[in-house]
């Protein structure tokens, strides 16, 4: 079975500081990993994904994420946070070893608040 954990319900950072939103995963095969962002009363928007290759992937709005296979982690990062980055962030995984190929598993979400 595949699973995703986002250990922090809430992350607070000051504008201009770097931010990290943590994600760890568990799969039986090789993972496909995704980050999404959700603003209030909206659907989730895709930020970036890791499929294979370079462990550091870059995505929308200056976000990047680092895949670490030994630590089974895929943390979301941004060098300099903006107030407009304040939102709910979701990590998700699809498992190549999972025969139930239609589904991804989402974490419970982390609320990021960036203060001016």
């Amino acid at each position: 079975a595949q699973s995703v954990a986002q250990p922090e319900d809430q992350v607070n950072v000051a504008e201009g500081n770097p931010l990290t939103v943590k994600c760890t995963y568990s799969v039986s095969g090789n993972p496909y990993l995704f980050w999404y962002v959700q603003y209030p009363n909206r659907g989730l928007q895709f930020l970036l994904k890791y499929i294979t290759g370079d462990n550091l992937v870059k995505g929308s709005y200056g976000f990047e994420a680092e895949f670490n296979k030994s630590q089974t982690s895929f943390h979301l990062k941004k060098p300099s946070a903006l107030v407009s980055d304040s939102a709910l962030y979701f990590c998700a995984v699809s498992d190549l070893g999972n025969t139930n190929a239609g589904k991804s598993t989402f974490g419970d979400g982390t609320t990021l608040t960036v203060k001016p």
């Binding site: 659907g43 989730l44 239609g102 979400g109």
Partner: protein, 113 residues
């Protein structure tokens, strides 16, 4: 380009009334389609998914059902709503490969009175 439409945006229904939420996708064919429920702005609960017309997989036994009468149409229904059916319902689609992200509609906020 592909778009996903979900309606209505908000809905207030009495307990025991029926429900029909509709989701349509444009600009792609044979998408994988998903219904999720989100409570209180937290995690997503997968309710149903479909890999083709008439093919529905149910994730959680409950008061809801789903149908896919056309390739790009996904409908969430209930014959009698319960108070516990309140929540934010999201429809999503994905292409036929696991390495593609899901694309979400803007959701329906359902309140049961």
């Amino acid at each position: 380009s592909q778009t996903i439409h979900q309606w209505p945006a908000t809905l207030v229904q009495p307990v025991g009334s029926p429900l029909s939420l509709e989701c349509t996708v444009e600009g792609t064919s044979n998408p994988n389609l998903y219904w999720y429920r989100q409570a209180a702005g937290r995690g997503l609960q997968l309710l149903f998914y479909s890999v083709g017309i008439g093919q529905i997989s149910s994730e959680v036994p409950q008061n809801l059902s789903a149908s896919r009468p056309q390739d790009r149409q996904f409908i969430l229904s209930s014959k009698k709503l319960l108070l516990s059916d309140s929540g934010f319902y999201l429809c999503a689609w994905r292409g036929d490969s696991l390495n593609q992200p899901q694309h979400f509609g803007d959701g329906t906020r359902l309140s049961i009175l």
